[in-house]
């Protein structure tokens, strides 16, 4: 059955896609929410089961459970080829795991026209899944855009006051990047060898890996792809769309955006950029790392002086992404494994942070940090969760992020000691802005508004417990994820060297 009639990547794709389309037509708010939650749980179940079949080396037949290819556009040399490798498993699991948590945590939020809202959320999940499983450049591009468009509508219809301005910029900016990538894809396509008799060229990832490219061509193509991915991540100085968009986006969307969607850029850099243009990567690695390290310090500094909770989290995210960017381009095992782990950890940690910010915002109606205070008295449970989540965000040992940051910094250190020294300034600054936030929001005495805050409800307690347990579990025993992605890392490194 498995592997003959259906495979994991397909299920992970079709479930959110189909349920998403159905959701458009549901009217009643409670049914919409229930349906979306069930859909996301179903995806999660599939994803969990898929994790049992990752040992392709030990069981060659598992390959068929994880990979499938349909005839799609034979005369163009493109097939609908989707597959899961270690990194794919990791990121599809992240997507599947966090969506139910997002839905549950924001269950009480009311959105106008809930059917469309949740439908778009599910469609963006489908787009993300597609990106993570695509093994064909055309498929990849298709889903890359599919993930973007629902988010655009989510932000522009349900966002904050300045949503139109912010999302317009977000859309144009990322779309411009995507187009550059499309040019690159087509150009690359024309340099691939024929795989089948029907077409002269091929869009498949494997064919792309085998494309014959002169160093100069690599340089040009690298730039096209890099800009697209750098905007998505974002890497300094391509980041300016992000704080505004995060500020304006509705909470469930911003969670997807910052928790999962930025991983598209990182994922794509690892899957496409490094192995396709190794020569150009060697040429530009210093440039990219310097930009990334500047980004760490720059974003951390700006986070120090933010007065708005959402913007603070947004800038902290840019700093984290900067470290990941630097680690990718260190091109060694430690750095890449760290990035793999961090992709998951950062997803969990930042979504958890957003959930707490959302709860604070929902309870008080305030986002301005200086107007809050004393919440720990009124809602001690929330304070405890928040402190743990913040500690994970500053990468304290025994939280998940410590190990990933350790590996990334170590990778960067192996590449260049001085880069690591500068990047490490981020460790100090992150503690400063994060603890500032804790202090101003939760500690001190309560004021007229925070006085009335009620403790958090059971649903939110459960969600936060799940996240905190994940944080601690991976902080103590990260081996499952490191093991899962080990082959991908080795494979990528082989292609670079």
């Amino acid at each position: 059955m498995l592997g003959t009639y259906y495979t994991f990547p397909e299920l992970l794709l079709w479930i959110p896609l189909v349920t998403g389309i159905i959701t458009f037509f549901i009217r009643k708010e409670s049914s919409v929410k229930a349906f979306a939650l069930i859909s996301s749980l179903l995806t999660l179940a599939v994803s969990i089961i898929s994790l049992l079949y990752t040992d392709v080396k030990g069981h060659p037949d598992y390959f068929n459970y994880n990979n499938v290819s349909y005839v799609w556009l034979p005369y163009l040399g493109s097939s609908f080829y989707v597959g899961l490798d270690g990194m794919g498993h990791l990121l599809t699991f992240l997507t599947a795991f966090t969506l139910p948590l997002i839905f549950t945590a924001t269950y009480k939020s009311q959105f106008k026209n809930p059917g469309s809202f949740y439908a778009l959320m599910l469609l963006s999940q489908a787009g993300l899944m597609g990106v993570f499983v695509a093994m064909d450049a055309l498929v990849f591009y298709f889903f890359w855009e599919l993930a973007l468009i629902p988010v655009y509508f989510l932000c522009s219809r349900w966002g904050g006051e300045r949503r139109i301005q912010a999302t317009f910029k977000f859309f144009i900016y990322t779309f411009a990047g995507s187009l550059l990538m499309l040019i690159g894809i087509i150009y690359l396509y024309l340099h691939t060898p024929a795989v089948t008799a029907l077409a002269d060229h091929s869009f498949s990832l494997r064919a792309f890996y085998n494309a014959a490219l002169s160093p100069n061509r690599q340089t040009g193509l690298f730039c096209l792809f890099f800009v697209a991915f750098a905007i998505k991540m974002p890497i300094f100085p391509f980041h300016t769309w992000q704080p505004d968009t995060y500020e304006q986006a509705p909470y469930p969307t911003v969670m997807i955006l910052s928790g999962i969607m930025v991983k598209m850029g990182i994922f794509a850099a690892i899957r496409w950029l490094l192995p396709l243009f190794p020569l150009a990567v060697h040429k530009f690695d210093n440039v990219v790392i310097v930009l990334s390290v500047i980004g760490i310090i720059y974003a951390s500094c700006i986070a120090l002086v933010q007065t708005d909770l959402k913007r603070l989290v947004a800038w902290s995210s840019i700093a984290h992404i900067g470290l990941m960017g630097a680690a990718i381009f260190s091109q060694n095992e430690s750095g890449l494994s760290g990035v793999m782990l961090e992709m998951f950890n950062h997803g969990i940690n930042i979504i958890a942070l957003w959930i707490v910010v959302y709860i604070v915002n929902e309870k008080t109606g305030i986002r301005k940090i200086s107007e809050l205070g004393g919440l720990a008295i009124k809602s001690p449970t929330l304070a405890i969760f928040f402190v743990i989540i913040v500690l994970a965000n500053v990468a304290l040992p025994l939280t998940n992020a410590f190990i990933s940051e350790f590996l990334m910094f170590n990778g960067l250190f192996l590449f260049s000691k001085w880069y690591a020294v500068f990047a490490c300034i981020g460790i100090i600054l992150s503690a400063v802005y994060m603890l500032n936030m804790v202090q101003k929001v939760f500690f001190g005495v309560s004021n007229a508004i925070t006085e009335k805050v009620q403790p958090i409800d059971l649903r939110q307690k459960i969600v936060l417990s799940v996240m905190v347990i994940t944080i601690l579990a991976l902080g103590i025993y990260p081996a499952p994820i490191l093991h899962l992605t080990q082959d991908t890392v080795t494979d990528i490194l082989l292609r670079i060297k």
């Binding site: 910029k169 769309w241 120090l304 002086v305 760290g338 040992p397 081996a479 490191l482």
Partner: protein, 641 residues
């Protein structure tokens, strides 16, 4: 070997369980039970530590490595979660759990006025603190040590800011965490360097006397100097040395037993432990040794001077800790590893005693901490007074109290290394004697200077408080006898013998010059006579003290204001950072980078609007443009051929 080492994980696990129970049950469990669990788990850990110690002190004991699971395993990097138990660890285990237990017992009474959720929270943090410190000393590699290293930083943050409604306390807590973080970055970079050079961070593989990767034959001094300096940066943060010491005096914001815990049993001794643990690397990096010694000595003097003029009972003690830690680093820097560890031990006794005594005083005074408003308390609080007095004798270094032996060992080692170190160090010791006896006199002697109401309130503290005081006083009295110098008793230095295997390689590297006995006795006599003299002087000067001390000279004022170091850091680091950040956020990002992005959009918009004008709808223009284009193509083709 006994199977006690199979159970060794219980030593940190028990406090962790205590942390979980008290943390989760802080609303429901009664205060008595919370206090019982909180102290009980530490006591059990202490019992286990005693068993471990007994094993470790057996003849022919070799360091035990217990690996539990692979913590970080990526390709060539394999960092297991492992413990290493050797003599050094077992000694620290005793100090941490022993003194820690007394502090827990003391806390059950001291924190009694705290309502229930806070009481449970307090004990859970305290347990977590001990847990982190135990991880730190039991870890079998630098990464596990780092877990404890940052863990104690976190716990100090939580406990200093325990009364989180007060924003000053919160600021102090944040400062402690950030200062520590700055040091931690150095530590982390040191780990990376170790890892990239040797491929491992396990002590066993690095330092093993047979076949360790770091040995005199193959040592690369340059790299080792860099690594040890980076690790030492970590130590300056955790152990409050120049330039990262300013958090420790502010850390007084926490409840007093917490100060005792931070200053005596946990946290600040971490830096000493780390250097002692890495002794081989330090011994092979002479440049670092000098840095360590100089920084230690400078801190010892600097903090002692500041302590002279502090009027907050806890602040005096805080600066005294900074100063004493400086002595320990001086000891490490001159290669007297045993002496430094010895001083950690005796210091743990008398400093815990001093803080707990201070707590007893503060308790009796209803929260008053200003020694200007005390005086004559000795009459009403006999036990506190006598024990505090013993602690003062011990810290001043008067024989035969504990501090005398350890301090003497460090100073005489300093003399062999460089007589200047000795002279400055002795000067610091005199300052110590002075400020301690000033504190003693102002607090316990003379007349009471507070209000009548306060005087009425003053009382001796209950048993849960006096019991730890008496125990620690006994230890402060006799604790030094484990390290009697050779000249007084052959084989008198039991501690030195016990720790010898740990420092074996270093002893070989650093060929110690032994002082002639006569010189040593002269040094000893001189220092003791001077110290006793200073004690009497300070005591007499402040015994009859009545009115508020006014800072006369500008220098005295500078001392009272701690040399304005906090203000200096604020002016040269904090403020510029904020200003730069504001500029980055509001100018560079908004107008600069985002301006360019928007500019691209705008110029496209503008360009399109201009190009649109071409489509005028007039056929004549179109034909004209077409002809122009064709001409252009022709020209291009002609020239390219």
């Amino acid at each position: 070997m006994g199977n006690i080492f199979n159970l060794v994980y219980w030593i940190p696990l028990l406090p962790f369980i205590g942390f979980l129970i008290n943390g989760l049950g802080r609303q429901t469990i009664s205060k008595k039970v919370i206090g019982f669990i909180g102290s009980g788990v530490i006591f059990l850990s202490f019992c286990l530590s005693v068993l471990v110690f007994l094993q470790a002190s057996k003849e022919g004991f070799v360091a035990q490595n217990i690996s539990y699971f692979s913590f970080i395993n990526v390709g060539k990097i394999n960092i297991p979660f492992e413990f290493q138990i050797d003599q050094l660890t077992s000694l620290f285990l005793l100090i941490i759990t022993g003194v820690g237990f007394l502090i827990h017992v003391y806390s059950t009474s001291y924190m009694n006025e705290e309502p229930r959720p806070g009481y449970g929270r307090y004990f859970s943090y305290l347990n977590l603190f001990v847990f982190s410190m135990l991880l730190l000393v039991m870890g079998g590699n630098y990464v596990v040590m780092f877990i404890g290293w940052e863990g104690v930083g976190l716990c100090s943050y939580l406990l200093i800011g325990f009364w989180f409604k007060n924003n000053d306390y919160n600021n102090a807590a944040k400062k402690a965490f950030i200062m520590n973080r700055i040091g931690d970055v150095g530590f982390l970079l040191g780990i990376f360097w170790l890892l990239s050079t040797y491929g491992t961070v396990s002590y066993n593989e690095l330092f093993n006397s047979t076949g360790g990767l770091i040995n005199p034959a193959t040592a690369n001094t340059k790299i080792l100097t860099a690594i040890t300096l980076l690790l030492f940066v970590g130590a300056t943060g955790k152990s409050a040395q120049i330039p990262l010491y300013t958090w420790l005096p502010d850390a007084m914001a926490g409840p007093t037993p917490v100060s005792a815990l931070i200053h005596a049993a946990t946290m600040v001794t971490a830096g000493i432990y780390m250097v002692a643990r890495s002794n081989i690397m330090y011994s092979l990096a002479p440049a670092t040794m000098t840095v360590v010694a100089v920084i230690g000595l400078a801190t010892a003097i600097f903090a002692a001077v500041i302590a002279l003029r502090q009027n907050d009972i806890k602040k005096v003690l805080a600066y005294s800790t900074v100063s004493q830690l400086g002595y320990m680093f001086l000891g490490l820097g001159v290669g007297a590893y045993t002496g430094a560890v010895f001083h950690v031990m005796t210091h743990a006794f008398f400093k815990a005693l001093l803080f707990l005594g201070a707590g007893s005083v503060i308790h009796a005074m209803g929260g008053e901490q200003d020694i200007n408003k005390m005086g004559g308390l000795g009459k009403k609080m006999r036990i506190t007074y006598i024990t505090f007095f013993i602690a003062c004798l011990a810290i001043a270094g008067i024989p035969p109290f504990a501090g005398f032996f350890s301090k003497d060992e460090i100073l005489s080692a300093a003399f062999t290394n460089n007589p200047v170190f000795y002279i400055i160090g002795l000067g610091g010791a005199l300052l110590t004697a002075f400020y301690m006896f000033r504190l003693l006199a102002l607090t316990f002697a003379g007349n009471f200077r507070g209000s009548d109401e306060q005087w009425h309130h003053v009382h001796e503290s209950p048993g849960a408080i006096t019991f730890p005081l008496i125990t620690l006083a006994v230890l402060s009295t006799i604790g030094g006898f484990v390290g009697i110098p050779e000249m007084f008793a052959k084989n008198g230095h039991k501690l030195g013998e016990f720790l010898a295997p740990v420092f074996e390689s270093s002893t070989k590297i650093l060929t110690a010059h032994h002082l002639p006995e006569q010189t040593e006795i002269i040094l000893l006599a001189v220092s003791v006579i001077l110290i006793v003299g200073v004690c009497f002087w300070a005591w007499n000067k402040y015994k009859k003290y009545s009115a508020g001390e006014t800072a006369q000279s500008g220098f005295a004022k500078a001392i009272q204001n701690k040399f304005y170091i906090d203000e200096l850091y604020n002016a040269i680091i904090v403020k510029p950072l904020k200003a730069i950040s504001n500029v980055l956020g509001n100018v560079i990002d908004k107008a600069g980078i985002d301006g360019i992005v928007n500019g691209v959009g705008k110029s496209i918009n503008y360009g399109s609007r201009q190009i649109r004008l071409l489509q005028s709808g007039q056929v004549g223009t179109y034909i004209f443009l077409m002809v122009l284009g064709m001409l252009l193509l022709f020209i291009i083709q002609m020239f390219t051929k």
